[in-house]
């Protein structure tokens, strides 16, 4: 199905199932511990061997000597895989560093060996016996120090242009009566998902199957085949359940490759879970940024000049954190410029983490907006409203497909009790607490990706959906079932959803908040095809046939849906693909975050009291799972604001706090009260579902809202995340 004109009325609009706040259909499997996660696939392989990964102990240099003798002779050891004995390996097209390092080491904890043994404990014990002599080399580990050597990043579809210019920023900024010029920093972040990267691999001759935990089945399939030098058809990737990803599992990672190599070397199935202390340095992370923002405005608050420059670092050949993305689109302003610079760092590989670009970009831009509103003497909500734009400000001939940004701001202000806020900081006090209230905009683009699905109808009227779409805890199973149930006119119980298998049609996968809208659209397309075949078999005109209540109806003739499959299962397969509606129209999602914090006067501890997000993201397919996505994202944003930071040892070149004791993420006590409101909206430009992404919108802007609230509470402005008490303690009012 090609989607190249805005959607009109279609079966989804019935909203009998889609749009309902249904419980997730995979819930019972999870609450009973029976959902088959990769490391626990006892159902498919009875007696796997265990692999334990050895990570490089230096950030950069070479392995001089590797002594495997002791490890090889340790009890239970079956095989040891190293770059020296693994045969020729290519590199995945989504990987910057090689997944099996040696003799050259590209980053700390780059995998250099896999020890395979009969038991997990034996593999772990033997792994400690691998002796490696390194010849370390100096590397570049400090983003600030590397700033001078940063260059324009290579442009591609993902990064977009490295620079943009509209009008004459320099001149307009020089002339503006009110200006702001500040620098903001965000640290490296770890995805810190609960389930570590894990894979069970089995060879059958030259065919390889991996049961793994991956967000993008087709990418993993292609990159695993490429790395091993196999045709894609020989590799099967299965990933039906994923215990969190946040972008950390978008790509083929070391667990998959090493499990495959280990299984080949040991001659039997092998499973590998990355040890928790390896994850921060072995896998990818959200890169740190240094961002400079300049704003110039008329006294009435009209922005006349806006510039956003961002510096980030990555391994050679890597890409930038696209933190200027939103600034190209969010606010009006005739003179504008954005620029990205990329420095070479020898830290682990930087890559996508939940809302790459916008998440750290909004953390900076939305503090700047708060600061500017104050300079202008304007209410921060009003300042944003004044600079709304209904067209792409860099290409004014491109309207937004839908942009109820002002509605989000107004509704949020009303619901949160914004009018009670004091515009002057440091005014409200409750006992030991300084209370602050603030807000920030939310913004994240909506991405369109081709997505396929297969649907089967059996004679009992049961509909089975198969697509390689993944459910990373988001609710994909449920919204896909809702889509099929709505389109085929059957109750939810009659739908079976099978996900995450490279034998199923290629979908959009889970990432960039593009999964829900695109994957359900692909399922819709396949269901429309199935409806046509059903109608044909029943002798109906498919355009007149009405599918509901498990039946097909034309006029007063009604036949059970399953009757169409009386002679055998009907199978339909299709995909959604897109015309140029995302070129003619800018498609984005919008929102507003409101936060109230309390800061302890004495210790400076900042605690969030309540949060509200108002989101406009097209049709909300399932308000319950969407809400869960948004509150999860708000929680992650709170973490980014208050505590999350991979601490870099700039001498040794690695992230030091590489476990969940050292890398703190919020606990329940950090997010006591969260509320989410969705605007009742549809976006006919996005897809037949009229939905857009929402899972990342929720994180964009949260950090800044918290930062602004701490300012509102204390009068101290912090521009370096995370906003920990050590950064402002000495500027708090004295304790009496």
């Amino acid at each position: 199905m090609k989607f190249d004109t805005p959607a009109t009325t279609n079966p989804i609009d019935r909203l009998k199932v889609v749009g309902q706040p249904l419980d997730r259909i995979d819930g019972p499997l999870k609450t009973t511990g029976t959902a088959p996660y990769a490391y626990e696939r006892h159902d498919v392989v009875a007696d796997p061997a265990y692999g334990h990964v050895v990570g490089a102990a230096i950030a950069k240099g070479r392995i001089q000597r590797m002594d495997l003798a002791a490890a090889r002779h340790a009890p239970g050891v079956l095989a040891i895989v190293t770059a020296a004995n693994a045969g020729t390996l290519d590199k995945g097209s989504f990987n910057t560093a090689r997944l099996l390092g040696g003799p050259d080491i590209e980053h700390y904890h780059q995998a250099v060996a896999l020890v395979v043994a009969e038991s997990f404990e034996q593999a772990r014990a033997a792994a400690e016996l691998v002796r490696i002599d390194y010849a370390p080399e100096p590397g570049s580990f400090n983003l600030r120090a590397a700033a001078g050597s940063a260059t324009l990043p290579h442009e591609n579809d993902i990064t977009g242009p490295a620079e943009t210019h509209v009008g004459d920023f320099t001149e307009a900024f020089a002339r503006a009566p009110v200006t702001l010029d500040e620098t903001y920093t965000t640290p490296d972040h770890s995805h810190a998902m609960m389930e570590p990267h894990a894979t069970l691999a089995q060879w059958d001759g030259d065919r390889l199957t991996v049961w793994t935990s991956n967000q993008m089945i087709a990418w993993a399939n292609a990159d695993l085949a490429k790395t091993l030098g196999l045709p894609k058809e020989k590799v099967r990737v299965v990933s039906p359940f994923i215990g969190g990803g946040f972008g950390g599992k978008l790509f083929l990672r070391a667990d998959v490759l090493l499990a495959a190599l280990g299984a080949r070397a040991a001659g039997r199935p092998v499973k590998v879970a990355l040890q928790r202390p390896l994850i921060a340095n072995n896998t990818t992370h959200r890169p740190a940024t240094i961002q400079r923002i300049r704003l110039g405005a008329e006294r009435d608050g009209t922005i006349t000049a806006i510039a956003h420059e961002s510096l980030s670092g990555d391994l050679k050949g890597g890409g930038p954190e696209t933190a200027v993305n939103q600034t190209r689109l969010l606010y009006a302003g005739r003179n504008r410029m954005t620029a990205m610079r990329l420095a070479v760092l020898d830290l682990p590989e930087g890559n996508a983490m939940r809302a790459p670009g916008e998440a750290p970009g909004m953390m900076a831009l939305e503090i700047a907006m708060d600061e500017m509103a104050e300079k202008l003497g304007l209410d921060p909500v009003e300042f944003r409203i004044r600079n709304d734009t209904q067209v792409d400000p860099e290409n004014p001939q491109r309207p937004f497909s839908s942009r109820p940004f002002i509605e989000c701001l107004r509704l949020g202000a009303e619901r949160f009790g914004w009018s009670a806020r004091s515009p002057r900081p440091g005014q409200r006090r409750e006992g030991q607490w300084l209370i602050g209230m603030a807000m920030a905009a939310a913004f994240r683009n909506n991405l369109l990706m081709k997505s396929g699905a297969r649907v089967r109808l059996d004679k009992a009227g049961r509909v089975t959906v198969e697509t390689d779409m993944t459910d990373i805890g988001t609710g994909s199973y449920t919204i896909i079932a809702q889509t099929a149930a709505e389109t085929m006119g059957v109750p939810m119980e009659q739908v079976v959803v099978r996900l995450g298998d490279s034998e199923f049609p290629v979908s959009a996968g889970s990432g960039g908040q593009f999964g829900a809208n695109n994957a359900t659209s692909g399922v819709y397309a396949a269901c429309v095809k199935l409806r046509e075949e059903v109608a044909r078999r029943l002798g109906f005109n498919s355009r007149e046939a009405e599918f509901s209540d498990g039946e097909v109806r034309v006029g007063n003739r009604t036949i059970a849906l399953g009757a169409a499959a009386a002679e055998g299962e009907i199978v339909a397969e299709d995909f959604i693909e897109y015309g140029d509606l995302d070129k003619t129209h800018q498609q984005s999602t919008f929102g507003a975050h409101f936060v109230e914090v309390a800061v302890d006067r004495a210790t400076g501890e900042a605690r969030i009291r309540r949060m509200l997000a108002v989101c406009a993201a097209g049709r909300i397919l399932n308000p319950k799972s969407a809400r869960s996505q948004v509150i999860g994202a708000m929680t992650m944003g709170a973490g980014a604001a208050l505590m999350e930071e991979l601490a870099v040892d700039t001498r040794r070149g690695f992230f030091v706090n590489h476990d969940l004791a050292g890398y703190e993420v919020p606990v329940h006590a950090d997010v006591p009260h969260q509320e989410v409101i969705f605007l009742d909206e549809t976006d006919p430009f996005s897809s037949p579902m009229k939905a857009k992404g929402v899972g990342e919108l929720g994180i964009c802007g949260v950090g800044a809202a918290v930062a602004n609230a701490i300012y509102s509470a204390t009068g101290v402005r912090i521009r370096d995340y995370p906003i920990t008490l050590d950064k402002y303690l000495d500027r708090l009012p004295d304790v009496a």
Partner: protein, 316 residues
């Protein structure tokens, strides 16, 4: 984790004896710290002696009006004991600010005292660390040290002792009761129990090889207001940046110890005479000679501000 042998001790004295006969052996209580360290091969005992089930899990009154807390009493039970809550509220509060409910169910009194540092480099076996591998160097000096010690540190180690409970026990003037391999018992004052790192940061307490903790003895209650204030980046389930344990009497006199700043709960009795004069006076003596790093210099300010709030609370 290396393979190890395991035995259940028959009595406290037998446990101590078994330990001395198995070089490198370790006692295991709740296992919440030891097992984590064994999995990372930071500890690699060839032999484990399980000291559960020896009747060391009781809280009994002492003759001089105090309490004897068995070494194996869980943190949860200790914090919930009515006598502790009434007369040693500081201890209950310190315990409840630590770890999580699940961990406190397993964690024991002795194990808590002997938990090891949370210095991140200590946990990374690829990095030099004098505490883990004597003589290899200290990665934290000049490295990431925001969480680490500011006082009583040495050129060899700047780690802190992470226990909340120990801070309370130090304020309460508790004693650690032990049995040695030769069957003799002794009591060690909390003031002496933990050592400063000096040039042997791997030696953390007064305990001799094989010496088993049998109990912690609390002296007669001292009354006063008991306040434990733990400052941390997240609201729960985090180690202290700094913590303050204080007992303040109606006349303004009292006791105070600080956690998160040193290799042991940090208390300077001489500084306590300054309590009526306020936090700044106390801190001048309490933290005299502090040598913070650039990353953790804020702890000096933080201790003083927190102490001021604690003293306000005690007055209010």
């Amino acid at each position: 984790m290396r393979s190890f042998s395991y035995e259940r001790a028959a009595s406290p004295a037998q446990a101590a004896e078994a330990a001395i006969h198995n070089p490198g052996a370790k006692f295991i209580a709740g296992g919440t710290n030891l097992l984590d360290l064994m999995k990372l091969q930071i500890e690699a005992p060839p032999h484990l002696i399980d000291v559960n089930g020896l009747g060391l899990d009781e809280i009994t009154p002492t003759e001089d009006g105090g309490l004897r807390v068995g070494a194996l009493v869980s943190n949860t039970r200790l914090a919930a004991d009515m006598r502790i809550r009434c007369d040693y509220a500081l201890l209950a509060r310190a315990l409840l600010s630590g770890a999580s409910g699940q961990l406190r169910n397993k964690a024991t009194t002795a194990g808590n005292l002997l938990q090891r540092t949370r210095c991140p480099y200590f946990y990374d076996t690829a990095q030099p660390c004098n505490k883990r591998q004597p003589g290899s160097g200290c990665s934290a000096i000049g490295g990431v040290s925001r969480q680490l010690g500011v006082i009583g540190t040495s050129e060899a180690c700047i780690a802190t002792h992470p226990s909340d409970m120990a801070v309370a026990l130090r304020v309460l003037d508790a004693e650690v009761e032990t049995v040695r391999a030769d069957g003799t018992c002794r009591r060690i004052a909390m003031a002496d129990f933990h050592l400063l790192p000096g040039d042997t940061p791997h030696i953390e307490t007064m305990l001799e090889p094989g010496e088993l903790i049998t109990a912690v003895v609390l002296p007669h209650p001292v009354g006063g207001r008991h306040i434990y204030r733990k400052v941390r980046d997240r609201a729960s389930y985090a180690f202290a940046l700094v913590s303050i344990g204080a007992i303040v009497q109606p006349d303004g006199s009292g006791r105070v110890a600080v956690g998160g700043v040193a290799h042991k709960p940090w208390r300077v009795e001489a500084a306590e005479s300054e309590l009526p004069r306020g936090a700044q006076s106390v801190c001048e003596r309490l933290l005299a000679g502090a040598r913070p790093t650039r990353d953790n210099a804020f702890k000096i300010t933080l201790v003083e501000r927190t102490l001021r709030a604690v003293l306000n609370e005690a007055r209010g």
